[in-house]
């Protein structure tokens, strides 16, 4: 990226707010995410004109209209494909993809998994409210089984995806999770995503007060947050709890809770290793229903980060190689091909 060369005058969050009225419902978690992105951007040291937002369709996807950057509010589920085309064309652009759980995992599922394996350098923020907001509250592939919605009055019979497991299974090179109501954590994760050279998938738990209120309160509200959230950091042991009195250790591949209050020593705790894919899968697998006794805490943070060539870098490498090998072929050569003959006048 040529961004380093042209450092812009330091901007402020306001510089990234467009002139359009934000039209989410009062109390929507999307506001908080918009605020964090606008707050973080001035620190990313990217010329404003190089930011491109690409989104699909959904409440979350309206995000694009609220950023004073270049942006495409595309069609439902296809943002990943549009964004791939953008990156393949201009690697100077800092491409951000905004999508909802329905947009990404339902109609957009195919492009989602293919983007993960191709690893275009795109920061992918998936606002997960476990519901279709824009269409007024049907369950999504991220909704809990049994959830009652307009389209499932007797409860959904759909087993949901575990979005992070899906991403890892699809060869994602960066997988993280954050929450709408934790600005600091969001800022941290957004920055980490931005540093990643590849597709950085960030799932953000987002409250939809209108159609799925409180879906994540267990993790976002004071009363329960510290007991239910496990904030992981590379190289740090997995400790959580109001008084950091709980830890996680690995028994083979099974994570188990250790009670540190009982004086148990913290050694032997699971030290988070962002680079271990299988461990990331185990971490993503800590997904049980907080209502169940003996359930695991829900992890947040960067689960996995792998350095793998991006699709566009490999593509440009081929172009460079071909150019250096034979150089561009002249149009006249292309027009004539190898075999021609002449008809005399």
């Amino acid at each position: 990226m040529s961004t380093e060369t042209t450092v812009p005058a330091k901007k402020t969050a306001k510089d990234f707010a467009s002139d359009q009225d934000v039209k989410w419902c009062p109390g929507c978690g999307d506001y908080a995410i918009l605020a964090q992105v606008q707050r973080v951007f001035p620190d990313l040291n990217v010329p404003k004109e190089n930011y491109v937002f690409v989104s699909g369709i959904g409440c979350s996807s309206r995000f694009t209209y609220y950023m004073d950057t270049y942006g495409v509010h595309s069609i439902h589920g296809r943002a990943a494909s549009v964004a791939s085309g953008v990156r393949a064309t201009n690697r100077d652009l800092d491409v951000w993809l905004i999508s909802g759980d329905g947009d990404s995992l339902s109609i957009g599922g195919n492009h989602f998994i293919h983007l993960m394996r191709r690893n275009f350098e795109i920061k992918y923020l998936m606002f997960n409210n476990q519901i279709y907001g824009l269409t007024k509250g049907q369950y999504s592939p991220a909704s809990q089984k049994g959830i009652q919605t307009k389209s499932a009055p007797m409860g959904s019979v759909d087993e949901p995806f575990n979005p992070l497991e899906l991403a890892i299974g699809a060869k994602s090179t960066f997988v993280a999770r954050s929450l709408d109501r934790d600005p600091k954590h969001q800022q941290y994760v957004i920055k980490r995503a931005h540093e990643h050279k590849g597709t950085a998938f960030v799932e953000i738990y987002q409250n939809c007060p209108v159609f799925n209120d409180g879906a994540f309160f267990t993790y976002t509200e004071k009363e329960t947050k510290m007991e239910e959230c496990l904030f992981v950091e590379h190289g740090k042991p997995m400790i959580y709890g109001k008084n950091n009195d709980k830890g996680i250790k690995l028994d083979g591949m099974k994570p188990v809770i250790v009670d540190l209050a009982g004086g148990a020593s913290p050694d032997g705790l699971w030290i988070h290793d962002e680079t271990d894919r299988m461990k990331a899968m185990v971490l993503a697998g800590m997904f049980d229903n907080p209502a169940h006794a003996g359930h695991m805490p829900r992890p947040f943070g960067v689960f996995y980060k792998e350095n793998r060539a991006t699709y566009e870098d490999d593509l440009y490498a081929q172009i460079e190689l071909a150019k250096s090998k034979k150089g561009p072929v002249s149009l006249d050569k292309i027009l004539s091909g190898d075999k021609t003959w002449t008809i005399a006048g």
Partner: protein
């Protein structure tokens, strides 16, 4: 007039012909495509005009020897202008029973049939599903044809026995023997093919020798064997002076796009998902990395078009290619390109439908889908290529219109011209029409915010490139406010935008050539109106009928949406309008609705192009009907 030539104890009659149609039919494994193209190139180099039509077996390779497995190559070459591969065969080369079975019905009365007798043993006859005990070579079913029975297999083995090659390799040169024989028969030089062989097998000398030996053996076999007493002489054609090449439609389309992008000073990006018969464009374009051409094999057609939209948005020339089923999947995304007004070229190499239909056969049944296949009022220009070489012009033109008018453009070709080939007097790069693809860098609304949807007199909005400081703005699929492009649900604004988008497309009629009469007079009893790949057959039929004194003319459309401004007046010059199409009457509906003229149709939906004969019959019939 025919002549007699005497040569070493052998008298040979030399037939002079204006044009000859040769069809090669054999197994996928028999190398018919290669034999055919070698014969074709040689004729071309000899300055003959020609047109070819390869026929591949339905997608998967059927077992050897079966009719389903027949691979055919048809070439029509001559000293006159050639517009089609020909209706019937003067010469059929049948390498096995299946080849004869599948193509005999198209051999002209009195035509020549060259059979490789080795391909007519019991096994082969069974595979070709000939009734038990049938013996087509001797049961009189070939009476009325001149039959050359040659045990090619045996002859080749003999010719190559010294080479010490294995049977497999030896068998592989069968086709060269046949080619050599045909070169003798049509009095053609072997040089071109010799050159080809030397180049191709340079690294495998023994294979090279074998092929050359086989080629010569075939030639000499004709020259020396008593039984063959007729040769054909076809003069070179009086074609416009210049440098020519042979080209297929898909190849022409590919380089048309490359030229357009380079002329416009843009990168070319192709987002595509393989599908017959469009895949070869993806294959061809993926060879040009050295020219910065980016090909992206997407996970499906939707991703393909959306990636192309993203590429265009970012500043490239975005293109996507497919055929019927894949085009259907792209329609929603095309609507996005229409409402955002992003340049995009969508190429539909039409094939037999509906649904998966007949993937390897040709058809023109996607015209109305191209024009009306999107939800809402989503107009876009549609142009159609008429011959293999014309695909170059049309691809170039599609890109020009897309870039200069900020719109997705649909280009229609079809399997017939996509795989067919013809000699092409290709242009110099310098002579190509310039394409202006500019990006705004200045705010077009000094003091205010940039107006991404402020139009010029052509109704065209400015194009921006992300990365341009100061012009940041958002676009999307929701209805947008005039000029600002901000989301707007206002009723009056919506109606205005619908009209602005419609008028922008209609105004393109001011930037394309007028319609004209291709053959015949401006006023006549009957106008045969065509579009796309029917051009060659219609032109041939109409020219012949005019020569025969009929009052008929031919008008051919490249621009099907919008129509050329003067099409109405042009058609008004005729008492009747007949529209031949490889569908149930799609252009006919558009013409009747627009001009309220009682145009009638001639519709063939057989997955095959029109023959000149059937067209002539229908035209005469229409002329005589009152």
């Amino acid at each position: 007039m025919d002549t007699i030539e005497k040569k070493a104890g052998k008298t040979v009659e030399v037939k002079h012909a204006e044009n000859v149609v040769v069809r090669f039919s054999g197994d996928s494994g028999d190398g018919m495509q290669l034999t055919g193209s070698q014969f074709t190139d040689t004729s071309a180099f000899f300055g003959q005009d020609l047109s070819t039509f390869p026929e591949f077996p339905a997608e998967i390779r059927a077992p050897a020897g079966t009719v389903a497995g027949v691979s055919g190559f048809q070439v029509n070459f001559g000293s006159k202008e050639i517009f089609t591969p020909g209706d019937e065969y003067d010469v059929l080369v049948a390498m096995n029973s299946a080849g004869l079975k599948s193509d005999l019905h198209k051999v002209k009365k009195g035509g020549i049939i060259l059979v490789n007798t080795a391909g007519f043993d019991k096994k082969n006859l069974n595979l070709a599903k000939y009734p038990e005990g049938a013996d087509p070579l001797n049961d009189g079913s070939l009476d009325g044809f001149t039959v050359y029975k040659i045990d090619v297999t045996r002859l080749v083995k003999e010719a190559l026995k010294e080479t010490g090659l294995g049977m497999k390799e030896i068998e592989r040169s069968k086709n060269m023997f046949v080619l050599g024989f045909l070169f003798w028969m049509f009095d053609k030089s072997m040089d071109y093919t010799m050159g080809f062989i030397t180049e191709k097998f340079g690294k495998k000398p023994e294979i090279m020798d074998a092929n050359i030996k086989a080629l010569k053996a075939g030639y000499n076999y004709g020259d020396t064997t008593e039984t063959f007493t007729t040769r054909w002489k076809v003069d070179s054609a009086k074609m416009p002076a210049g440098v020519y090449r042979q080209i297929t439609g898909n190849h022409a389309t590919s380089i048309g796009l490359i030229c357009a992008a380079e002329k416009a000073g843009l990168d070319l990006f192709l987002g595509s998902y393989p599908i017959t018969p469009a895949s070869d464009i993806l294959h061809e374009l993926s060879k040009y990395r050295a020219n910065g051409v980016k090909t992206f094999q997407a996970e499906d057609e939707i991703a393909a078009i959306c990636s192309a939209i993203g590429a265009s948005y970012a500043g490239a020339l975005g293109v996507t290619t497919s055929s019927g089923p894949g085009i259907a999947l792209k329609m929603e995304a095309m609507g996005l390109a229409v409402i955002t007004e992003i340049p995009l070229v969508v190429i539909n190499v039409q094939r037999g439908g509906p649904s998966t239909g007949l993937p390897t056969k040709t058809e023109q049944a996607d015209l109305l889908q191209a024009i009306h296949g999107r939800h809402g009022e989503a107009p876009l220009p549609v142009i159609a290529a008429s011959t293999p070489a014309d695909c170059f012009e049309c691809a170039y033109e599609a890109a020009r219109i897309a870039l200069e008018h900020m719109t997705p453009v649909m280009l229609l070709t079809d399997g017939y011209i996509a795989n067919g080939s013809e000699p092409w007097k290709f242009p110099n790069a310098a002579d190509l029409k310039p394409i202006t693809a500019t990006f705004v860098t200045e705010n077009n609304n000094p003091g205010g915010k940039f107006l991404p949807y402020k139009r010029d007199e052509r109704g065209v909005r400015p194009r921006t490139k992300p990365g341009t400081a100061g012009l940041e703005h958002r676009i999307g699929g929701l209805e947008k406010q005039d000029e600002t492009g901000n989301v707007s649900y206002d009723s009056a604004n919506h109606e205005k935008m619908v009209h602005l988008r419609q008028e922008k497309i209609e105004k393109i009629a001011n930037y394309i050539p007028l319609a004209h009469v291709d053959s015949g007079k401006e006023k006549a009893k009957l106008c045969v109106l065509g579009w796309g790949s029917t051009a060659g057959a219609i032109k041939t039929a109409v020219l012949e009928l005019i020569a025969e004194g009929h009052d008929v003319a031919h008008v051919h459309l490249r621009y099907v949406n919008p129509f050329p401004k003067n099409l109405g007046e042009v058609l008004a010059g005729f008492d009747k309008v007949l529209i031949p199409e490889m569908n149930l009457g799609q252009l006919r509906q558009l013409i009747r609705a627009k001009y309220l003229i009682p145009a009638t149709g001639f519709n063939k939906v057989q997955g095959l192009p029109f023959t000149v004969d059937e067209l002539k019959v229908k035209i005469v019939e229409t002329l005589n009907s009152k």
